[in-house]
């Protein structure tokens, strides 16, 4: 169990796809203008990652390595289309606000990177934990960036007018945060926060180890 927890944990902070591996940034910066989009995109991406990893890991012995890329793309594209259709049918509003970014999950580097580097070589169960870890790592960063940008850029969180309810009636939204430059700035803050967190965690792990030794 400990082993699976370790695999799962990797994606959240230490090997966070966005903050440490720095892949899949395009969609992450583009959709994070409000929290609903962040949650939706995170879940959609986790779904595609999970099923692509399972299928590719299950069939890794029969996928010839010289034709693996096209086969990966077929599998990823199939699951992306599934989630696109399901969202269109049952969450039309969400699907609308994310527009082209759902179909673009096909070319999301996180999925390509994980299936190539991980699930093509690992067992199915490991892949399930890896995809959940990576998916969660992607989702929390997306939701975090989105909450930050939406609050400052629009004065709301998930559509709820937080500032107004708290009594800051005169709050003028800072448009900058909704626009791409604001996205980059907030993203940079998250990267530095993550590095700080990682260092701190390593330090406290060392301290615990020292204590145990003493």
């Amino acid at each position: 169990m400990n082993r699976y927890w370790k695999i799962f944990k990797q994606g959240i902070i230490n090997e966070n796809p966005l903050l440490m591996l720095m892949i899949g940034l395009c969609s992450a910066l583009a959709v994070t203008t409000n929290v609903q989009n962040g949650v939706g995109m995170g879940l959609a991406m986790t779904f595609v990652l999970l099923f692509s990893e399972i299928i590719i890991s299950a069939f890794r012995k029969v996928i010839p390595s010289s034709a693996r890329m096209p086969i990966f793309i077929i599998i990823i594209a199939a699951f992306t289309t599934v989630i696109d259709l399901v969202m269109k049918a049952y969450f039309p509003a969400l699907s609308k606000s994310m527009g082209v970014f759902i179909p673009l999950i096909v070319v999301n580097c996180i999925i390509m990177g994980r299936v190539e580097a991980y699930s093509y070589k690992q067992k199915v169960v490991d892949c399930v934990f890896d995809s959940f870890g990576m998916g969660l790592g992607y989702t929390w960063v997306l939701v975090g960036i989105a909450a930050f940008r939406e609050l400052l850029g629009n004065g709301t969180v998930a559509g709820f007018p937080l500032f107004e309810k708290l009594g800051f009636v005169g709050f003028q939204p800072i448009l900058f945060f909704i626009l791409p430059p604001g996205g980059f700035l907030v993203f940079a803050l998250f990267i530095s926060f993550n590095i700080w967190l990682k260092k701190r965690m390593a330090k406290s792990a060392k301290a615990i180890a020292a204590e145990v030794a003493a």
Partner: protein, 201 residues
């Protein structure tokens, strides 16, 4: 060498075929609901533009005079109240800042805009996307949203953004979006006017 290639091809084809079959099932399962969603949205929008109308009959779009090449005519409906035609609704999409924008325009039988509804717009959130926002006002005092200002307007030469010498207020920092939407509305209006002049209802 040849044999290896054939084997690769077959493996690839097998994966593609399996994916296709799977997708066909999902498509079949969701197709109906997607169509229903689109219909519901259109029906709601039509009702919003013509609250008193009781039927919206489709017009064969090739009957409409359409001269614009950039803007594509989607569909059109004759709006009837108590069996009398009260206007037409035209749906069209044209290029805007962040991709095609789809707009539904209602035109009264007397040639005035009954209302404008933005169905699909992919422009910048906080800027161009304000065109479809109910909280963004081009006239703050009167609480007029961008689409609201078209209501009751005649289809004439003034139907242009102010920057182009017309009378339409633009969204701050989003002239391209404002212009694109105004052009779509004008195209729809022109088609409707041509139809009324020709004696059609």
């Amino acid at each position: 060498m040849m044999k290896g290639l054939i084997k690769l091809g077959i493996t690839l084809a097998a994966f593609a075929a399996a994916a296709c079959v799977g997708l066909a099932f999902v498509n079949q399962a969701t197709e109906k609901q997607i169509k229903i969603n689109a219909d519901i949205q259109l029906a709601e929008s039509l009702r919003e533009l013509f609250p008193t109308a009781d039927s919206f009959d489709a017009i064969i779009t090739s009957e409409l005079e359409w001269n614009n090449v950039d803007i594509k005519l989607g569909e059109a409906r004759v709006v009837k109240a108590a069996a009398e035609s009260v206007g037409i609704a035209v749906m069209a999409s044209g290029p805007s800042y962040g991709g095609p924008a789809t707009i539904l325009v209602g035109i009264d039988i007397d040639g005035k805009v009954a209302g404008v509804k933005i169905l699909d717009l992919k422009d910048t959130p906080g800027l161009g996307a304000n065109a479809a926002s109910v909280n963004y006002f081009v006239d703050k005092a009167k609480q007029t949203t961008f689409p609201d200002q078209f209501k009751g307007r005649a289809i004439d030469d003034g139907l242009k953004v102010k920057q182009d010498g017309g009378e339409i207020d633009t969204i701050t920092a989003s002239t391209i979006t404002s212009r694109a939407i105004t052009k779509i509305i004008k195209a729809c209006g022109d088609a409707a006017t041509a139809r009324f002049i020709a004696g059609g209802k």
